[in-house]
């Protein structure tokens, strides 16, 4: 299934809760969650560990809007809105972790 995260991992538990409960599949970082995909943060090792269990994607327009679009953690996939749509249709269910 697809897990959609929209909160910064620095201010919220959302991403940690998703990683704790979800059994694998696709994770898409949108809106303020895109900061989780940027390298050099204190959470980079957490994301790298999660890449062993999940396919992690990040919405490029949200990265670009926030000035962090130049580089993302290796192994994380950048997608556009079309890619977002494909992730939704490819997975039988999606959950937005609000």
């Amino acid at each position: 299934m697809l897990h959609i995260i929209n909160k910064s991992p620095f201010g919220h538990e959302t991403l940690a809760t998703c990683f704790r409960m979800a059994q694998g599949g696709d994770v898409l970082l949108i809106e303020d969650a895109v900061y989780a995909a940027t390298p050099g943060t204190a959470l980079e090792s957490l994301i790298k560990a999660a890449l062993e269990r999940f396919n992690i994607h990040v919405l490029q327009p949200d990265l670009d809007a926030r000035g962090v679009g130049a580089e993302i953690i290796e192994g994380v996939h950048a997608v556009d809105y079309g890619g977002f749509v494909d992730l939704v249709t490819r997975n039988a269910t999606s959950q937005s972790w609000l």
Binding site: M1, T17, R20, M21, Q23, T93, Q95, S96, W97, L98
Partner: protein
């Protein structure tokens, strides 16, 4: 309603009551979904577990106490209430502190349950 039209709906509650309206309005969707004879599960995770805390007294904040609705869910044939063990433990709560009977699941079991759903709504 035919079998084809019955889907598994899961409602994931991750927010505390009263600070925002999400918990109350989520409950309204839950009741309507049950009226459509769907297979409904409610899940309480993170601060969502506080929605089920016993002893809520809202007189002082002049807001409707909607917690009794959780006790009425059985009357709507909503009997699948799940609480994540880790979320309870981190908040120093046990099942005794909750106002309804729930099934406590560990994180992995909760994640597996999510994988079985057709529609997941998170509030």
């Amino acid at each position: 309603m035919s079998e084809d039209n019955i889907k598994k709906f899961m409602f994931v509650n991750r927010k505390a009551p009263y600070g925002t309206v999400y918990a109350l309005e989520a409950l309204e969707v839950v009741l309507i979904t049950a009226a459509f004879d769907q297979d409904v599960s409610l899940v309480f995770v993170d601060d969502g577990v506080y929605q089920l805390r016993k002893g809520q007294q809202t007189k002082g904040i002049e807001t409707k106490n909607f917690s009794p609705t959780f006790r009425a869910l059985e009357g709507y044939d909503i009997e699948k209430l799940y609480v994540e063990k880790e979320s309870l433990q981190r908040r120093g709560l046990t099942e005794e502190d909750l106002l309804v009977e729930v099934t406590v699941l560990d994180s992995a079991a909760m994640g597996a349950l999510m994988d079985e759903q057709d529609v997941i709504l998170s509030f």
